[in-house]
């Protein structure tokens, strides 16, 4: 049932996973976390956030960009599984953290959480990394998001630069509400002194938290008096405050517009929107969810097994055969699990979303919804299945599940099978086809007629010679 791996390898993988699970409940890709600070002493401001991470099993190393021992790769392998960048004042991040290395880190399945702050300019290195991901920051490498309608009246009554926002709702209704689920009503999220980014059209990007429609971004140093319309960086929902990027290999990158919101003081503070009463911030829970998503603890999907077989009565009905025949009835089943902080659970589709199966050669011949198969599901895994008749076209086809949704691991599973033509003895026999009966009768008539003729010819006596001579005369 499992996809083809050698038994030894899967045993090894099992032991590895089991061993990892013993250590602590942790991310699916590893627990080595690197936190990059300008000055390691700053970590005191984030003690609750970092403590939460350690509590979830991460081993955090603290480094500054200037450190010469800092290396993301060791002998070609990742030295860390995840990286957090806290705001740094340096212009670049030095030769150990070039944009190329960071992209390679993503390519090697490493995850990055990157925080910004309006009080420090972002290093050039990270700007070029963001440019590769199609994320744009204001030209001066910093900016400040303000909103005169949904600011925190307690701490920024005058400056309006601490936004008080409700927990984020997904941008589309078929996306799983990972970051706001189960949030108590009326909860507010404090977003102090944050930077907004503009996202390009790339499909790997999804905003987790967008600015309210009335927010805008400006540069407090140069545009403190007048903000001209054509110099506006961006406004409203085009400003993404917290951005998720998931690469094709499902490595995750999160751009958090405000590092301050992770600080202890905003975990404990109370905020109040204009005209509202003051409530405790939602920041701690939000930080947990965002970091859990970034470090592969949330929204991680796993394909347990894929199975397809002939759905017909036949002598040999093996699993996952390499070859089918045209117009066979087949059944395809895929088993999926979802990871939530410390355990694999069964994966249930978000409302309004469907899992689809394609049966394709160059282009899809079938695109079918997969439905939940209770018989093969368990609390740890849910199976989805579809049965259909193969097209009347031979060729090399793929069973393809291409499930790429924001906030979920990319699932692109391709199982190649050959679909052959009818063999010479698989057609119905001629006497079964009623249209062939006249022809069969014709053959019968010819054969029997010939036999009768031969019999007559052989047994009719030769005519008398006299009669013969008479005739010729």
């Amino acid at each position: 049932m499992l996809r083809s791996t050698s038994p030894l390898l899967s045993l090894f993988a099992f032991l590895l996973v089991w061993g990892a699970a013993l250590v602590s409940a942790v991310s699916t890709t590893g627990n080595r976390l690197l936190a990059v600070f300008d000055d390691v002493g700053e970590k005191e401001n984030y003690s609750k956030f970092l403590g939460d991470l350690e509590g979830r099993g991460f081993q955090i190393s603290y480094e500054t960009p200037k450190s010469e021992s800092l290396a993301l790769f060791h002998l070609g392998e990742r030295a860390y599984d995840h990286v957090i960048f806290f705001p740094t004042k340096t212009k670049g991040l030095g030769p150990n953290l070039t944009p190329q290395i960071l992209v390679n880190f993503l390519n090697a399945n490493g995850n990055i959480l990157h925080t910004l702050s309006s009080t420090t300019t972002t290093p050039n290195t990270l700007i070029s990394l963001l440019a590769e991901l199609d994320i744009t920051l204001p030209t001066e490498r910093t900016g400040l998001v303000v909103d005169h309608f949904s600011y925190d009246t307690l701490s920024a009554a005058e400056t309006h630069d601490v936004l008080a926002l409700p927990p984020p709702v997904p941008v589309r209704n078929d996306i799983s509400p990972l970051f706001s689920a189960d949030a108590p009503a009326g909860q507010l999220l404090a977003f102090p002194h944050g930077v907004g980014a503009v996202l390009g059209p790339r499909e790997q990007l999804t905003p987790i938290l967008r600015a309210p429609k009335t927010a805008y971004s400006y540069n407090p140093k140069e545009q403190s008096e007048v903000l001209e319309a054509n110099e506006l960086f961006a406004a409203g929902q085009q400003l993404s405050l917290v951005t998720a990027f998931q690469a094709i290999n499902s490595a995750r990158f999160v751009l958090l517009g405000s590092a301050e919101m992770l600080q202890d003081k905003w975990f404990l503070a109370e905020v109040a929107a204009p005209g509202g009463k003051s409530v405790k911030t939602f920041n701690r829970e939000f930080a947990k969810r965002v970091s859990a998503w970034a470090f592969q603890e949330l929204g991680v999907l796993r394909v347990n097994w894929i199975e397809h077989h002939l759905n017909e009565v036949s002598a040999v009905n093996e699993s996952n055969p390499h070859i089918y025949r045209v117009k066979n009835d087949v059944t395809y089943t895929i088993s999926l699990s979802e990871y939530a902080y410390d355990k694999w659970t069964s994966f249930s589709l978000p409302a309004n979303d469907v899992l689809q199966l394609e049966f394709s050669m160059l282009s899809p011949f079938h695109r079918l919804p997969l439905s939940l198969d209770k018989a093969h599901s368990s609390p740890e895994a849910s199976a989805y299945t579809a049965s259909f008749k193969l097209p009347d076209q031979h060729g090399i086809f793929n069973f393809k599940v291409n499930y790429k949704r924001p906030f979920f691991t990319n699932i692109e599973e391709k199982n190649t099978v050959s679909v052959r033509h009818m063999a010479h003895d698989e057609w119905p026999r001629s006497f079964v086809i009623s249209g062939a009966w006249p022809w069969i009768a014709g053959i019968g008539a010819t054969v029997s007629g010939w036999v009768v003729f031969v019999a007559l010819w052989m047994y009719s006596a030769p005519t008398d010679k006299k009669v013969g001579s008479k005739k010729t005369n």
């Binding site: 999804t206 990027f245 090399i396």
Partner: protein, 746 residues
């Protein structure tokens, strides 16, 4: 040596049975010689399958031997024409594979364990021995001289025109098909001469075997009815003709329809209509003949003949109407190109792109047939002199064979048997006239003169036959010696051509070192071995179709297109990918799940059969399907030159094929000195750059270059900017864009 022994030796040749034994020995020696002369390639190189198509036949044979006949019959090959696959069992002529499979099984039954490869390699030489015997039999039907048959066997055995397709390792359909062709003709002549149903049935049987073996069976399908038709027009309709033809047609057509690839073609396509038409016409003639014998009226007879002619014309008209209405498939493109050699080039570039479909150059006739091409007309003339039914066959065959051989290079093969037969008749007639040691005695002469006097009294002078002849020993020996020298030269020419022109496997190239020793260039096998050992088993290889069979056979990897050019659109897709810019080609390659691209490049070695030289065909074939996206004109400079150097057009320089061929080529030379030795072109200083492909392998002499298709960029960039980023180039600032903002919509 005493006079007695000489006498014994002279007597040996006189007895009838000793002559028979001698003939058998000579035939056996000829067969042996024809096999031996085909073994150059095995001795020079090794026991290896040659060229392109044989690699498929070899692979199919291996499949047959491994999986049995029924699995072979229903074989769906999912390793070619990815992702379409090929219903191989139904789209090939199985005769060749089944023959070698049967031989292999027979040898194993005799407890001779042989590798199937050796059976395949040596099949063609073995069958050439049989062809020589068949040529002997066929010629013996034409003439009473046995020497003619032996000569024909010898010619057939070593004529380069036939050797070109039947050296050891040339495991192609023609290897057995020429034997079947000649033998079927022999059986046809035999059946026609005797009016025998048995021989006709045998003829049909071998015709069926021929259909199972080679697409060229249509030559027989058209030649036999043509022969019958010519005989009818000559007023030689006979019951012999009726019996032999109808037996052959009925049984032969049934036999041919058993081959899945042929199926209902014999009743559906124009190529087969002459045979059907003559079959019907013969029934009519037989009926009229019967009526004529029953009613002896002269006027009625002429009426009947008119009636028959009318029916013939009417059925011809019906055929034309049925063809234009689409009931009968019209002539295929390959047939049109037989009448108009320019047709394929304009309408079906895929056919024209095959070198063996080109019109024959005149020197090729001399090259392939040498002396025979001169004596061939003499033989045909001698056939006119006797003009029995079988001689008409030779004449008809000669005329049509010559025409087709002139139109298409590969059809030299079908001409060769008739040239050998006619040439043998001519040379044996000459030798028989000059080798007779007997001179007429005085009495004979007197008797002849007496006869002349008698004759002059009674008839015309020209009708008498004076005793004229060459009786001088000198003139005889001079002529015979001359003929012997010619024949010796013929043998030497054949050996030379076989050894130099037709014995190269083309998978392995041979060149000479400065000191004269042989140097083997083995890039093809090096590259295929690399693919076999370093790529996934289902890695799809895209290459031009020429190399499809070899990749399938030697590297055992799935290919997109191969030498079985049945799907022009798929080939054009590959042509488009090769001739377009990277941005256009990449989605095509992704869609077809291509993992590696293979190109053949001769620029370093000066190897002429490379892809840049074939490139224009790719462009033409692609243009045939996508005239808006690919244009042949864009590959030529404004002055109409096809260049690869600095003055090449932008389209050329940006095409994937050009980039793959010349990628990194500059690094072999000092700056600015890169020279393409094939086209004698100095290349631009900066070589092409690739972003969607990466070089995976280049063979020793750079003949084969293999590129790996990159995956999609992990973070979603296009490949050009990803490559620029890798090189550390700064991204151009795009924030100061003019115009309206582009808003993201979620």
């Amino acid at each position: 040596m005493s006079a007695e022994t000489l006498q014994v030796l002279a007597d040996v040749g006189k007895g009838k049975s000793t002559r028979g034994v001698l003939r058998v020995i000579i035939l056996a020696l000829i067969a042996g010689a024809s096999i031996a002369s085909r073994l150059f390639s095995v001795i020079r190189f090794e026991s290896i399958i040659h060229e392109f198509d044989p690699w498929f036949n070899f692979r199919a044979t291996k499949y047959l031997v491994a999986n049995g006949f029924y699995n072979f019959w229903d074989w769906f090959d999912d390793r070619t024409w990815h992702p379409l696959g090929r219903v191989t069992g139904g789209t090939l002529y199985p005769g060749l594979m089944v023959t070698s499979g049967a031989i292999w099984h027979a040898l194993r039954a005799l407890t001779i364990p042989v590798d199937i490869r050796n059976v395949c390699v040596l099949l063609a030489p073995a069958f050439s021995g049989l062809t020589a015997v068949a040529a002997y039999l066929l010629t013996n039907e034409m003439t009473t001289y046995n020497s003619a048959g032996l000569l024909a066997a010898l010619f057939m055995g070593i004529a380069p025109g036939y050797i070109s397709r039947s050296v050891a390792g040339s495991y192609d359909n023609e290897a057995i098909a020429i034997f079947l062709l000649v033998f079927t003709f022999y059986l046809w002549i035999k059946a026609l001469k005797q009016g025998s149903m048995l021989w006709g049935a045998l003829c049909a049987l071998f015709y069926g075997y021929m259909v199972a073996s080679w697409g060229g069976y249509a030559f027989i399908t058209c030649l036999l009815p043509l022969h019958a038709f010519v005989l009818i027009l000559m007023g030689r309709y006979s019951t012999r003709l009726y019996v032999s033809y109808t037996t052959w047609y009925a049984l032969g057509t049934l036999a041919s329809m058993q081959i899945p690839f042929v199926g209902f073609l014999p009743v559906k396509t124009s190529e087969h209509m002459p045979a059907l038409g003559i079959f019907g016409f013969l029934q009519l003639l037989a009926f009229l003949d019967y009526v004529r014998s029953a009613i002896p009226s002269r006027q009625f007879q002429t009426f009947l003949w008119l009636f028959a002619g009318g029916i013939f014309v009417m059925s011809l008209a019906a055929l034309v109407v049925a063809t234009s209405a689409g009931v009968i498939a019209p002539w295929s493109g390959r047939f049109y190109s037989l009448w108009d050699t320019g047709y394929a080039k304009i309408h079906i570039p895929i056919i024209a792109s095959v070198s063996e479909h080109q019109p024959t150059a005149w020197p090729a006739f001399f090259f392939d047939l040498n002396l025979l091409i001169f004596v061939f007309p003499v033989g045909v003339y001698l056939c006119f002199q006797e003009l029995a039914d079988e001689h008409v066959f030779i004449i008809v065959y000669a005329v049509f064979g010559s025409y087709f051989a002139g139109v298409m290079v590969r059809l030299m093969l079908t001409l060769t048997p008739v040239v050998c037969v006619a040439g043998a008749i001519a040379i044996s007639t000459i030798l028989n006239n000059y080798l007779v040691a007997k001179t007429p005695t005085e009495e004979d002469q007197q008797a002849a003169e007496a006869a002349e006097k008698k004759g002059s009294k009674s008839g015309l002078k020209s009708a008498t036959k004076p005793v004229v002849g060459i009786y001088g020993l000198w003139s005889k020996s001079l002529m015979v010696a001359g003929m012997a020298v010619y024949l010796l030269i013929f043998v030497m020419h054949c050996t030379w051509v076989t050894s130099n022109a037709y014995s190269s496997p083309s998978v392995v190239l041979a060149s000479r070192m400065p000191d004269g020793s042989q140097h083997i260039i083995d890039d093809y096998r090096e590259a295929y071995q690399w693919l076999r050992q370093n790529t996934k088993e289902d890695a799809k290889i895209m290459s031009w179709w020429d190399y499809g069979y070899q990749i399938g056979g030697m590297a055992d990897r799935p290919t997109l297109v191969d030498n079985n050019t049945w799907n022009n659109t798929h080939i054009a897709t590959v042509g488009k990918a090769m001739s377009s810019r990277e941005e256009v080609s990449y989605p095509i390659m992704r869609q077809h799940e291509v993992d590696y691209v293979l190109v053949v490049f001769g620029g370093l070695l000066g190897y002429s059969g490379d892809d840049i030289n074939k490139f224009l065909w790719m462009v033409r074939i692609a243009e045939g399907i996508w005239p808006d996206e690919v244009s042949e004109r864009a590959f030529f400079t404004p002055r109409g030159e096809y260049r690869v150097d600095g003055e090449a057009t932008e389209t050329m320089k940006n095409s994937l094929m050009y980039k793959m061929s010349y990628y990194n080529f500059n690094n072999l030379f000092p700056p600015g000195q890169a020279v393409d030795r094939m086209r004698q072109a100095r290349l631009p200083e900066v070589g092409p750059s690739l972003s969607t492909l990466e070089e995976a392998f280049t063979s020793e002499n750079w003949i084969i270059r293999i590129y790996k298709v990159k995956d999609l960029d992990n973070v979603g960039r296009d490949h050009i900017s990803a490559t620029a980023f890798e090189k550390g180039l700064k991204k151009k600032k795009t924030t100061k864009k003019r115009g309206p903002r582009v808003l993201r919509v979620d």
